[in-house]
Structure formats: structure tokens, C-alpha cells
Symmetry: C2
Amino acid sequence: MNDKRHIPLDGEKAAPLSEGERPTLKTIAFMAGLGVTTVSRALKDAPEIGQATKNRVQLIARQIGYRPNRAGVRLRTGKTNVISLVLNSQSEIMGLTSNLVYGISEILAETPYHLIVTPYSPENDPMQPIRYIFETGSADGIIMSQTEPSDPRVRYLTDHNFPFATHGRTRMGIEHPFHDFDNEAYAYAAVKSLAERGRRRIAMVAGPSPAHTYYWHLDDGFRRGLQESGAAAVPLDHWNGTLSLTDVRNLTEIFMREPNPPDGIICCTGGLAVAVVAGIEATGLKLGRDVDLVSKQTTNFLQWFRPEVIVYNEDIRHAGRELARAVLRRIEGVDPTQLQSLSYPEADQGERIGISSR
Amino acid sequence: MNDKRHIPLDGEKAAPLSEGERPTLKTIAFMAGLGVTTVSRALKDAPEIGQATKNRVQLIARQIGYRPNRAGVRLRTGKTNVISLVLNSQSEIMGLTSNLVYGISEILAETPYHLIVTPYSPENDPMQPIRYIFETGSADGIIMSQTEPSDPRVRYLTDHNFPFATHGRTRMGIEHPFHDFDNEAYAYAAVKSLAERGRRRIAMVAGPSPAHTYYWHLDDGFRRGLQESGAAAVPLDHWNGTLSLTDVRNLTEIFMREPNPPDGIICCTGGLAVAVVAGIEATGLKLGRDVDLVSKQTTNFLQWFRPEVIVYNEDIRHAGRELARAVLRRIEGVDPTQLQSLSYPEADQGERIGISSR
DNA sequence: ATAATTTTCTGTAACGTTTCAGATTATATC
DNA sequence: GATATAATCTGAAACGTTACAGAAAATTAT
């Protein structure tokens, strides 16, 4: 079979005398005595290239450490091999950004994709980075967080058929890839664990964001839990959307001094829990005795802070992995309904590891 | 002057009938009745283009929302307009990654640069991502952390004259751009504040990384502080390099139970402080009474944890900004010695804001 | 008015890749 | 042995940009 090599005559093709230069298809073509087209196809295992040739070309490519020029591919095909992570640079739940980044990177590391991080400050329009990426075609897919029940970004990208995945769900009748923590299940479990401890008057500090979808899931789970356990909800009025932790602490203090304070509180982030604990303790009440606190955390630290806090963990790194897988598969054309996943609250085992000290 | 427009004849040039397509130089050239070369130059204010033409071209470009195609520029010029942030995905000091990213992004937002994040897992060779970026030319500059006193990455990039900036200094006789927190000043200030409170036997938990440069700076400041204040160092033997926080807690407990325990401890990260406090309290000793603790933190949370801890802040977002500015200027050819900066410990004001609750 | 000079503009080529439409060679068919 | 068919391979063109060398027009000098 095709054993005769095509020996190139001297000067038949411009010899790429590239010493130290990065090898290109031309380099390989020259070395193999083939055309660049053939090489290009051989490297991607095209069926119209002979097996022997493919092996030969691939061997050469491997030997000289050929790596396709991203700009060349991108210019010709429009494929960027980039995933863009778009997030709000303000609202940092402890370790959220880093773990998302690391989780996504774990998946992308085995692909040709690079990860571009595109933060936007809260005073800017959240649509702006989205439009930019779409209009300039600077990524093949987008991962975004801070999802809202009716999210214009989701509408825009869906309308334009641009691959994306959201951290969090929407409620707008559009099927799209997402990964979400099951906050309904969390709030439900939280109520149950309080009820188990005999707590009957329960309040939930759901974070200052009824704008975000998770608020409603929490609320659903909260209600379901109350219903089943027969405990009463203690409403937190006037806790508007833009509270600092200090505000939360002070409000908690006022709140706990009112007649009939709650004996169980549910927090949706570790940050809130810290502030709420400070407020509780300012009134002289004692955690675990007078009042129990359940909190979700994304980084193992509440146990160090107050071991009495009942903790559920949300694994953000896992979310990052799921989101990365989802966009990649969406880019491949997989149906959005196949790319929706939830993760569930993990009751903390009380292990005191996790905040890396390095 | 030059008022006569060059009116293109019908069909003189291939009319780019691009409806909905992204505008390119060709589009503008067609609209302006000019050559693409002229347009290209007009957009970058080249001196050989008439002022009137420049204005006209720039107006058109603005109107139709022209944005240069990154792949085109990159292929032609080799300029990627990308900065790569290379970091260890394991060693996460609270909020370090996110704040670095946000700080860098703040600066890059006003430039054409994008930020690619390239984490590497600790089991991989730290040189690998560096080589990849250099060999594939996938960025114009690198920002990296986890700097070591004799850092092979610094040597490699310097040898290859590739722009970079490090978070942390080296001690290898190479002048390179860096930004660093003045750990010497911090350790010194920490000793002084302990001495002020009458503490005489001081130990330092400098983190498990004598491999990293900052360890030595801490040590320098520690010694200087002791010398000036006449306090004694309590050595921490057998605290080897890979301790979990639980290990730290347990070691602290053992340590504090030995005869003549320290009455002042200095921690170099908030994570360590948490574990050390837990160890101290396990022995029944009381913070602020029996022993004082000074810690550095990169996120406001120690005050919430134990208000007794004496806190100094390290502003990582600021570090990100400085590092971004440094690489950018290095890319422009500015001398490395001009691109070295330090930031100084800020004694905490005790404000209880900073952990965003959103 | 003509030549010399400056100013302003232009087409071509190249960066590295893939797609298209063929071209060449080998193999099978009659 | 000629022809059809399949299997391999190929050059040219294009993606959008910039560098180069040069052309055309306007201005100045003679």
C-alpha cells in the first residue's frame, strides 16, 4: 500500500526554514512532503486520508510539538475555543467566584477551551457584557450567575441561539441549560432540622435578593417545611434588598428583642449567618440553647465560627464542573432540556478541614 | 482642502452586502469609498492620513459599531490582547483568587485586554502552564502568584523576554515586575502591637510555606520587632509544610499546654487564625486575657469571628490592580525596575462591613 | 509652466487555518 | 486493455487584519 513517499524536489515548495519558530501546518507539510490541506485533514482523522498518511502526519505533529494556531482557526472558522464566565464583581458569596472558576477550569483543562472571566460592576447593565460577547463573537459559550426569575440575558441569548448555561434557574418558560442548588430542598431540610430540635417559631433570612430566583425556591421549601412540621413562620419585615452585614446584625438584634422572637433561624449564606449570630449574641441569647441557627455555606468555616450552627454545604466547585459540561455539550448541539441539573444540600459532617491554610 | 470625495463607481469594489453581519474594515472602506489600508490607518490616527478623512472614517466606524476582529489582529500581528492569570487551584487564601481577578479586571476593563484564568493543580508542574502560554503565544503577558525565592518561572520568562508580573517577590537577582504585600512590615507591626499590650513571649505561625518568599519577609520583620521590643521568640518546631487547619488547631492546643506557652501569637492568614483560636480556646485560655493574637486578613471576617483578634488588612483587589498595571506597562516596554510596588498593612478600623451578604 | 516635493491614499501579500472543487493515483469492473 | 469507480491527495481562495512599496494628487519651489 502507498509505500512510495513523495520526495519533494529541491525548491519545489518554499522551504520553511523555521529554526525556533513555532511549527505550522506548512512545517509539517514540508516535512511529510504533503500539501497543507492533507495535513490539516490528516490531523483531524478525516476519512478521505489514507491511514498510513494519517499515522505519519500525526507522528510528525507529535514529535515537533505542533499546536494549531488559535487565531488561524478562529479567523477561518469563527470558533474561538473560549468560554466566558460572566459575573457580578460585587456580590461575592465567600469562595463563590474562585470555586466556580476552579470547577469550570477542571473540565476545560481536558479540552482546547480557555476560560475568560468577565466581571461587571453592579452599576453597569448586566446585559452589556452579554451583548459584547455575542456581538464580537468573543466566546463560543457563556456561563453566568446571579440568575433572575425573568432574566433578560437568558431571553437575549436564547433568541440569538447562543450557547450558555446559568448558575440558577429562571421562571420564564424558556428551557435552557442550568445548574442549580436545590434551595427548596435546603430550606425544607433546614425547617425540619429545627423542628426536630423542638423549634416552633422560625424565621428565614433569605438574603436581600427577591430579584434572584433562589429566593423563591427558598420560600417554597420554607413553607413546605413549616406545613409539614406545624411550626410557625416569623416574618422579617422591612429587611430590604441592600443590607450590609452590619445592618443585618443590627436588625437581628432589634428583632430578637421584640416580643415573641423566633427560636429558629435559617440563613442562606454563611456571611448572613455570621451577622445574625452577632445580632443574637448581642441580646444575650445563646445559640443552641435559646435559639438554633441553620445555615448553608459554600466554604467550610461556620463550624470554626460557632460549632452550634447547623450547617448544610453547597459545593460550588461541583457547580462549576456541571456548568462547564453543560455549555460544552450545548455548543455541541445537545438539547437544553438534557443539560439541566440540580445539586442537593449536604448535611455537614462536622469535619474541620476545608479552609486551606496555605 | 480635500473636499472632493472619491465617489466609487458601481461595482468598482465588491460591495459587502452584509446585512446583520459584523462590520469589518471592508465595510467601512466601502461606505467611505476608501481602501481598507486607509481605513485601518485612519482608525489608528496614523500621521499619513488626512485629518478630514480620519474624522470621516472614525465617525462611520463609531456609527456602525465597528470592532476590530481579534482573530484578524492576532493572526496578523501576533498580539493577543490577552493577559493570563496563572494560579494554584489548591492554595486558596480566603478571597484571594476572586479579589485578584476583580482587581485585574478593573484595570483591563478600560483596555482591549481580556483576562484568561489558568489554574493548575498542585500535582502538576507549575512550569507547565507557563511553558504552554509562552510556546503557543496565547497571551501577551502573565500574572502569577505563589512566588518562590528562586522561581523557575521567573527565570524562564525573563530568559525568553516574556512580559509578566508576580504577586510576591523573588530573591534570585533578577529585576522583574512585582507587587507584594510588605510582610516584613506586617510582622514587625504585629510584634510591636503585642509588645504594647505587654506580651513578651511571641510565636509566629507563618504558614506552612518556607518555600514561598513571604515566609522570609515575615521572619525578617518578626526578628526586627523582637529585637526592638525585647520580647522573646517562642519557636514552633515540627510545624511542617502541609498542615490542615485541623492539624493547626491540634498543634496549637498541644503547644499552649506546654510549660511557658507564648502570650502573643502572630498569624499570617485569617484561616490560620481561626484554627489557632480554636486550639487556644480548647485549652481553656482566653483570647485577649491570657494571650493576644494578631492576624493578617484578606477578607473582613476575623472581627466577626473573635473581635479580640488584632487585625491587619491586606487589600488583594489593590494588588490585582497593581499587577495588571505592571504587566501592561511591561508589555509597553517599561523597565522592570519601574514596575515594582509594595503595599502596606492597614491596621483594621474595626468596621463590620465587607463580607457581602448578597 | 514645469519640476520637485510632500501629502494622501492604494493594492498586494502575508499571518495559519479550513473549505471547495478538482486532480491524480490506485483499484475494481467489464 | 480500456473504462468506471473509489481512494487519496492537492492548490486556490477566504476569514480580517496590518506592513510594504508604490501610486496619485496636491503643494511648493524654480
